[in-house]
């Protein structure tokens, strides 16, 4: 019985984190992006520098009308946001922030997280197709093309770190982590981060939602709460990607006084990576479709294959 209570407690904490941390990232994006563009961003909601802006947005979204276009495929259209959102929630369960501080440590954690993250895109494709809108359809096609180009380097980069650690358990990977991985696994870290950005359709890889040509890509017909869920999925995706990058490549809870404040280290590193996600969005222009494909197939894939070879040699040399 006590075990069941503990399980429920862990799961409740994960759910809470899922509801709060993406909003934090969103707020950071609001403010950091604004200041990077010499603006101030939201200032009113909540009083102090608009800290409650996203809460206010949520309250607004819940009250908005639920519009389903007449031409749309109603069932698929309505289900799509949930399908896009839930995979990230499930993925969060397996990400550890400290030794033992994890929703559930799975033996196969890394592979599990990577597999589950790939499911979210089905929700976006469902939305793109079911809207019966030309912009949405084109956006959907671009989402699929982008996912197929970047999922492979993403998975291969994850495989590289699994090889280095010799385990698929995320806790095990952090325990095997060593500061010199920062150098040894640097190409994999880069590929993982870039491919992850592309999978989340974050700028500069936001051609599926390129507003100047496709309005809002697959989400064009969405409004109100369903739109909010898609946006929440995007930010939850940033959190999962940042946390994974921190745990796999930046050593998770390793740092000074890790016995006492290890979890803080994980959170700080996650926050840092999330900030870089925002930073990159402001700094770079959108990639064109052909540049996108070239970067993936002729840049990241060869780079990560090279990294795999380096990792394999490194591991065997060190273990013998």
């Amino acid at each position: 019985m006590a075990e069941l209570v503990e399980v429920l407690l862990r799961v409740a904490v994960v759910l809470l984190a899922f509801l709060v941390v993406p909003l934090l990232v969103g707020q950071v994006e609001h403010k950091a992006m604004a200041h990077m563009q010499s603006r101030v961003g939201p200032m009113y909601a909540g009083g102090f520098h608009g800290w409650a802006q996203l809460v206010a947005d949520g309250v607004k979204f819940v009250q908005k009308e639920d519009v389903v276009p007449a031409a749309a495929d109603r069932t698929v259209f309505k289900m799509a946001p949930a399908v896009a959102l839930l995979p990230y929630l499930v993925a969060m369960v397996a990400i550890p922030i400290g030794p033992g501080l994890v929703g559930q440590d799975l033996d196969i954690g890394l592979f599990f997280v990577v597999a589950v993250m790939g499911v979210g895109v089905v929700g976006t494709l469902m939305g793109g197709w079911s809207s019966a809108n030309k912009f949405s359809l084109l956006g959907g096609i671009r989402v699929a093309a982008q996912l197929m180009a970047y999922e492979l380097p993403f998975v291969l980069a994850a495989a590289s770190v699994a090889m280095a650690a010799g385990t698929l358990s995320l806790t095990g990977i952090v325990e095997a982590w060593n500061p010199w991985w920062l150098l040894w696994q640097a190409p994999a870290a880069l590929v993982f981060f870039v491919a992850g950005l592309a999978e989340l359709q974050r700028p500069p890889f936001d051609i599926p939602v390129a507003d100047a040509e496709l309005v809002f890509g697959p989400y064009t017909e969405y409004g109100g709460l369903r739109f909010a869920l898609f946006i929440l999925a995007e930010y939850a995706g940033i959190v999962v990607l940042s946390a994974l990058t921190a745990v796999l490549f930046l050593g998770g809870w390793h740092g000074p006084w890790e016995d006492q404040v290890g979890w803080l280290w994980t959170l700080a590193k996650t926050g840092l990576v999330a900030f870089v996600v925002v930073w990159v969005r402001v700094a770079y222009p959108r990639l064109r479709e052909d540049q996108l494909q070239r970067l993936a197939w002729q840049g990241l894939v060869p780079l990560v294959l090279f990294q795999l070879a380096v990792t394999a040699i490194g591991v065997v040399v060190m273990s013998s």
């Binding site: 604004a34 200041h35 010499s38 700094a283």
Partner: protein, 175 residues
């Protein structure tokens, strides 16, 4: 020195530098904006100057000025003289939901009946309220600032020189 990825790093550096600087946002409505002279906020009307020549309404590219008038006859002041007729303005309205602030009406008015006021806070919840009738346009006149002083050594306005010449002819001392 040049190396691959230099441009990418430069991009990041620029945004980071901007972030550490103070933003340029004006905190309206907490701080009111400092508007330059001759800001185009709202158009004010001096009804008395208007002769219903209709130039403004005709020149308006957006057709947002509505003018109604009728003719009034003024009886002759001298015996056997002719009655005079005069245009009387019944309605003068500007629809600011259509107005594009091009300033053509102000420019073409031959009798200085239209002026720019820098007031801009006249948003409404109902679009029909944005059609300002002549009473409201008259009210805006009180917010029109005095014309800016002329540059040093500039020629005075034509009206003033003619007035001065007329005064000199009558032998009155000029101010």
């Amino acid at each position: 020195m040049s190396f691959p990825g230099k441009g990418l790093l430069k991009g990041l550096a620029v945004t980071m530098r901007t972030m550490t600087k103070r933003s340029v946002t004006a905190h309206y409505p907490d701080a009111l904006p400092e508007l330059p002279p001759r800001s185009r906020g709202v158009i004010a009307l001096i009804e008395e100057n208007c002769t219903v020549c209709m130039l403004c309404a005709r020149e308006c590219p957006a057709w947002c000025i509505y003018i109604d008038s009728h003719k009034d006859t003024i009886p002759a002041t001298t015996e056997g003289g002719r009655d005079k007729s005069r245009n009387v303005l019944d309605r003068f309205a500007i629809d600011f939901s259509i107005c594009m602030y091009c300033s053509i009406c102000v420019e073409v008015c031959p009798f200085d009946a239209l002026h720019w006021s820098p007031e801009f806070e006249y948003a409404e919840l109902d679009i029909r309220e944005l059609t300002h009738e002549k009473e409201r346009l008259r009210e805006w006149m009180w917010t029109v600032p005095a014309p800016a002083a002329l540059d040093e050594g500039a020629e005075p306005a034509k009206e003033i020189t003619t007035a001065q010449k007329a005064a000199e002819r009558q032998g009155r001392p000029t101010p």
